[in-house]
Symmetry: C2
Subunit: 353 residues, 2 copies
């Protein structure tokens, strides 16, 4: 089931040869960051994660060095957020193009700085290489105090499904870049790692994962790991951020496609058993944020959006395995999604378009 | 003084904009790994470091995927060794070429595995991207118990200078690759991080740094940081590993050039005050290794090899700033070194060649 997703199969293949630590708490795929018992102090856990900004630069999705710097920090902090860890700091390995301009270098570092300042964390160190291309790899180190960490496992059918905020801005940004060849970075894509939210979820959520690859990839992964599915009880319009919806209208995409495509918004998606919903509500209110209830976990696998669109694990695998970034035809992926929608015999009088 | 070295100036420039942690123990350049107080447990420190294998691949220095995997692990563990930390584990971010063969992928992962097994550590997780080039970035996380960490500062003139083993194999490997276009990886270049040695140095060494960039770069950096110089009281032949010496003979290089060029062997170089030499000897004997005494720290800056070759900080800066990897002319760097030697009016009847 996990291996049906090419990325999962690759990770399993790459990991198969490598020695694992007996101190590691999470199994493969089971959490957004790696969780390790701190030697000599069993009550505390370290969370670590590494994430490179490579394909986003090479595909042209990111061209502003400021955004590259920002995302190098935030993509990693978002993984810490999804396990409920508090950041200790980051390391940044940079591959810089020979002859990078002073302005671009300053912009890159300013993006890193601003993301750190917003998240209240720091850069501990790094490494620099020169090449013909720009590439960055961040590593975030975090701390978990003695309650259990948030992981992607385990939830049961019938639990409440939430996200930490409106979705779709990552794919709206990507749609403007890919479909409209917008290279002005005019769309305000500046995801923030939901550290405060993740930390407060440790007392109530059964599973948590960030939407770095978009909502559908997140739900599909959670579904495969937990042997369940998800029903969304709101139309996509009510889940998607207003500025992202405007992009859907402008580009002629159905709103749900902004949940299906793989460039995410780095919100947290999480499940809460019914008897812990009141804890969630109290904790969130105390820490100053509002969980967005979007549906439930189901025994039936896949994703159902009200009565309008249901995608099986096989169809979700086809979506996730679709090599969007390497496709020469920039319209291929939206056409593929439209084909899925058409086959579903959807009531076009509803608010899908 | 530090800024005379282009790499130091770049690191200072890149770091200037970034927020630093009040919990970080080391200042910029002051240690091989970043050392951070563990929140809530002041007696324990975390050591973290990141290092990418980029230029070594692009310049053709490394072409065997096994060696790339091995070095991704060892280069990072060597930084932990140089601060006396015990590894908790590593993260590996890989950029893989589209269509990488199964054999190459297995070889890459086997190199990572074997290096971990030799060092007694594990891979905690990673990240994978696809591109047109191979590139890897490792991050190592380690633990320091409550004695002070090893750092690059501070030593005084008149201390004893040691290394953890014979030198020159990194540059011998590079000489065969660059000068003889040897692409068979027939020279046995498999550095091992000196974790045991670094750990035992914490009770006696005043400074420590690994030779990832070769002996001269290491001594020059230590000299700039501590306002001192170094005299080597042995001829290069007595410091260099026998198999590396054979390469010097075969390629017509003076042995000292294997200490001067920038592809290192990942041994530890360290200084010991005279009243702690007996502690070093006892600790090393107990843990089963033999420190190699190579000279002393001096008030005079630069590096002197017996009475035969003396290099000022200016000359060392020219050596370190020489852009070896990007030079189109593969003979340019050895010629440049030979020019330095000739100007020194060296007694050619001695064992230099």
């Amino acid at each position: 089931m996990m291996q049906q997703i090419q990325e999962n199969a690759l990770i399993a293949r790459l990991s198969a040869l490598l020695p694992r630590s007996p101190e590691q708490v999470n199994g493969l795929h089971e959490s957004d960051a790696e969780i390790v018992r701190f030697p000599g102090n069993e009550a505390r856990l370290i969370a670590v994660t590494t994430d490179g900004i490579v394909e986003e630069i090479e595909s042209g999705l990111y061209s502003d060095p400021y955004l590259v710097g920002w995302m190098t920090v935030m993509a990693n902090l978002s993984d810490l957020a999804a396990v409920g860890a508090e950041p200790i700091g980051l390391l940044i390995a940079q591959t810089l193009p020979h002859g990078i301009s002073d302005a671009d270098l300053t912009s890159l570092q300013t993006g890193i700085r601003d993301a750190c300042l917003q998240a209240g964390t720091t850069i501990l160190g790094g490494d620099t290489n020169f090449s013909d291309h720009l590439q960055t790899t961040g590593t975030a180190i975090g701390l978990l105090s003695d309650t259990p960490p948030l992981m992607r496992v385990r939830c049961e059918p019938g639990e409440a499904l939430y996200c930490s905020g409106p979705l779709g801005v990552g794919n709206a940004y990507a749609a403007l870049r890919v479909l409209c060849r917008n290279d002005q970075d005019s769309f305000p894509y500046r995801p923030s790692a939901r550290l405060r939210e993740g930390n407060s979820l440790r007392s109530c959520a059964s599973t948590c994962m960030d939407t770095s690859d978009g909502l559908f990839a997140t739900l599909d992964q959670l579904g495969r790991l937990n042997g369940c599915g998800f029903s969304l009880d709101k139309p996509p319009e009510d889940i998607i951020a207003p500025e992202a919806l405007q992009v859907a209208v402008a580009t002629g995409l159905a709103p749900w496609m902004l949940l299906a495509a793989p460039h995410g918004e780095f919100e947290l998606v999480f499940t809460v058993p019914s008897d812990r919903i009141s804890i969630l509500e109290q904790t969130a209110e105390r820490t100053g944020w509002t969980p967005l209830r979007i549906g439930n976990t189901t025994r039936e696998p896949g994703i159902a959006i009200q009565n309008r669109l249901a995608l099986s694990p096989d169809e979700l695998a086809r979506i996730r395995n679709y090599p969007m970034n390497t496709a020469a035809d920039r319209l291929a992926f939206p056409s593929f999604l439209a084909g899925l929608e058409a086959r579903r015999d959807i009531d076009q009088t509803m608010t899908f378009h």
